[in-house]
């Protein structure tokens, strides 16, 4: 067929061929397509519908999706903080000791303690240690009056801080609880290893247990609790009391006594506080000057 084709040789032939049904049809079709697109936007609609059909297979990306993800991430972060706080609060409310709470709190983290909860934990301590944390009289003022609104515990690197807060969010009292103190209380390791001579302030004022207690019992009965107020701690100790040292320094009306105890061939010293005036009376007895 193609071999039989020849190029038009006259102008009429050109016109005739150009205006053939096929060519005119093609031209009209092209024109219809072109102008209908401008009139009806079918190409945009076709493309739009095609894109809509692929929508589910496409990735969730772009500014608005990122915003959505940011929102989800923000909520996740907040929930994490809140969950951690709730867990810590639950844990703190069930905790049996201050050291338990301290172990749970990471530095900077805080938890609110109920007054009753604090009281329960405080009372669970041996009186001697409870006193070291805070004088019972002060605690009565803090907890039984209107002074304290809330109690905050804040985790530190090596322990925790307890804040008593009033209704204006102002700290009225705070306590530092060091990790080693809490551990010692938890493990009942009240004895400092070594003999009395190892510690400052006792030299020349160390007495054998027998001499010391004999002197104690020469004092009036009502004076003895002021001399040995921490009997709970002493009675709790295993081993034998060998010697007692009286410190040469007084602080806040108290004098430190060092009680040397031998347990399983290991000497250790337990420190207790005695009233200054009672120790002064005892000193007179020990020197044989007591009336």
């Amino acid at each position: 067929m193609i071999l039989g084709w020849y190029e038009p040789v006259t102008f009429q032939e050109w016109i005739k061929r150009t205006a053939s049904f096929l060519n005119l049809g093609l031209l009209i079709f092209s024109a219809v397509v072109f102008f209908s697109e401008f009139r009806y936007d079918w190409c945009e609609q076709l493309l739009g519908n095609f894109l809509a059909s692929t929508n589910e297979t496409r990735p969730e990306k772009g500014a608005i999706w990122e915003l959505g993800k940011d929102t989800i991430n923000a909520h996740q972060s907040l929930n994490k903080i809140i969950d951690r706080k709730s867990d810590t609060r639950r844990f703190a409310h069930k905790a049996a000791s201050f050291s338990g709470i301290s172990a749970r709190l990471i530095p900077g983290e805080w938890v609110i303690l109920e007054k009753e909860q604090f009281k329960r934990l405080y009372l669970s301590l041996p009186l001697t240690h409870a006193r070291q944390i805070m004088e019972p009289a002060r605690l009565i003022w803090l907890l039984n009056g209107e002074v304290t609104d809330r109690i905050f515990c804040e985790g530190l690197k090596n322990g925790m801080k307890i804040y008593f807060i009033n209704a204006e969010n102002r700290v009225v009292q705070h306590i530092d609880l060091k990790e080693n103190t809490l551990d010692a209380i938890a493990e009942k390791q009240y004895l400092e290893p070594g003999r009395l001579e190892k510690f400052d302030g006792f030299m020349g004022r160390i007495y054998p247990a027998e001499q010391f207690f004999k002197a104690v019992f020469k004092l009036p009965q009502e004076m003895i609790p002021d001399l040995l107020p921490d009997t709970d701690l002493l009675l709790d100790q295993e081993g034998t009391i060998l010697r007692i040292g009286i410190s040469n320094e007084a602080k806040d009306g108290f004098i430190r006594l060092g009680i040397e105890i031998q347990h399983r061939n290991q000497p250790g010293v337990l420190f207790v506080r005695a009233r200054e005036w009672a120790v002064w009376q005892l000193g007179l007895v020990l020197k044989g000057e007591h009336p």
């Binding site: 020849y6 190029e7 038009p8 040789v9 006259t10 102008f11 050109w14 401008f38 936007d41 945009e44 609609q45 493309l47 739009g48 519908n49 894109l51 809509a52 692929t54 929508n55 589910e56 297979t57 496409r58 990735p59 969730e60 990306k61 772009g62 500014a63 608005i64 999706w65 915003l67 959505g68 940011d70 929102t71 991430n73 923000a74 909520h75 972060s77 907040l78 903080i81 809140i82 706080k85 905050f152 804040y163 807060i165 204006e168 969010n169 102002r170 700290v171 705070h174």
Partner: protein
Amino acid sequence: MKPLPGILSVFRFVFFSGMVIICAAVIGAMFLVFYTVPDLPKLPRDVSRIIETPQSIVYDSSGQVLMRLGERESVPLARVSADFINAILATEDHLFFQHHGINKLRTLKALYVTLFRPGRIEGASTITQQLAKNLFFSFEQSYTRKFKELLVALQIEATSSKEEILEAYINQIYFGAGAQGIEKAANTFFGKSARELTLPEAALLAGLPKSPTAYNPFVHYDRAMKRRDLVLQRMVNTGFITKNQAAEAAAKAPLLRKEKQDARSGSYFLDALVRELIQVYGENVVYHGGIQVYATVDSRLQKSAKMALAQGLDNLDTMIAIPAGKTPRPQGALVAIETATGAVRALVGGRNYYNSEFNRATRARRQPGSGFKPFVYYSAFASAGFHPGTVMTDQPVTIPVAGATDWRPQNFGHRFRGDMILKTALTHSVNTIAAQLVHITGPRAVMETARKCGIKSPLDDVFSIALGTAGVTPMEMAQAFSVFANLGRHHPPFLFWRVEDAFGRILFERIVQDRQVLDPALSYQVVDMMKAVVETGSGRTIKEQGFKRPCAGKTGTTDNYNDAWFTGFTPTLCTSVWTGFDRRQPMKDANGLGITGGRGAAPIWADFMLQALAGEPERTFPIPENIRFEQVDPVTGCQAGPDDIPKSTVIALKTGQTVCGQEKP
């Protein structure tokens, strides 16, 4: 066969080439579409829903909403003024209801201009295309991004009605000044809802999205109005309004809601607050977490601070004789801290946030000059056993400096007054005596006192520290002076009391703890001396301006008048004011006289404190039990006899301290 006529040959070539090019273009376009589709973003089911994100809210100290972060308040079309809808259609895409996502003629024209007229860019984006761009694409200019944007626009048109598209568009466009969406914009600029917008207001807003910063009416009102007139003209051209209506609207100048300028990052305080929140919780939580933040700022005080600083700086302009519109102009900062807690009650970091976002209150380290002397005097009291009645001599001083030339400090005014007690020396800000004190105590003692009071900026171990040569921020100065006001108790400054999540669960709560860092009695002695500064010394402008409450403070001026300070306090509020040029240059008045802290900063302080404490009961400074007062001769330091009373001065002495050269600290 005759050869084909030339013209027909050309025609044949053009025809077939055209056919080939068109076919290739169609095939190429199809290929491009199929190639691009997998990389296009997925569209949410409802385009208008996805723009709703939870907002974080910041409240002031009285519980009023200060700012909403990440807010996108969506309103249905029915609740938007028809004038605004017409204005935005006329401006952005008047054929919006006729096309299906693209305006082909405008696109072809824009393509022609972009390709054949280098340097000229013509936009042809329809509202749908703009929506597609804002929702899914970055602002990167590239043909690929443009093509993708076009495809997404086609899909949006195919799946959403015109009303839905328009609603999504007007709810997410940015109008500037922190306003995203028409409801927020109407509220930010005019204090009303989108439904209540009048034609002049609607036209003004419709002109903003083109360039929210350049047309921000809070900053460039005239420019925004010109743009508004253009919008009105387009509304006339597109048949939305008549020429008369346009003329009527053009004659009206919409009133802006001025106080909303402080909304969002329009405020130095909020900027500092958001910065701190982001440091603690991260950007996501702050902007998208819906947290509730209870800030320390008192809106009334903040307004007073802003007004006082603006007024004071305008007065400085006049003093310096800077013609209107000329730059640079002196800047300023003001920080007010509640002495009992450390809560920042007002903070302004410059003249105008919109012109300069640099927060001078928290970030500009400027030399405090004599403002540093209270730390020197306290150090001398604490480490050398001096007291306000100790006598020293104002005379030329030479202090040897190891490895450098001797230090010879000069007094302001270059004159020496001879013997005087320390209270007088601080009252009149005598440099030579401060220099002798630092020589006695050593710079380290002064640094230590400043550190205890909360100064964290780098301090050099040099004698000149006594004259305030180390740069500090106004926030630090306010914090440090409030330690004196508190008789030695320090509270770090803070910007928010509490942070909660959207359900009211507490994330953070501020507790206030007093930390006694300075001796109460010695602190009181410094306070008593600073009271004299305000009454008879370099800060007497305070009393002259009508501030009669008990207060204390210290002026500060650097050698070349680059910085003018006044930091002072009442028993409840401590405020520091700094003024100076950003690029260090002297502040001198029209007569060539340098502007001191007493002239430049103290009037601003007084103006602010008068407003801030209006209606508050007057309080006196508490006096420690171990303080007693003695009437002494200001030259000899000895007890004043009955005849000497008129020229005597009262000093505060701590128990154990005696006067007349018999100091027993």
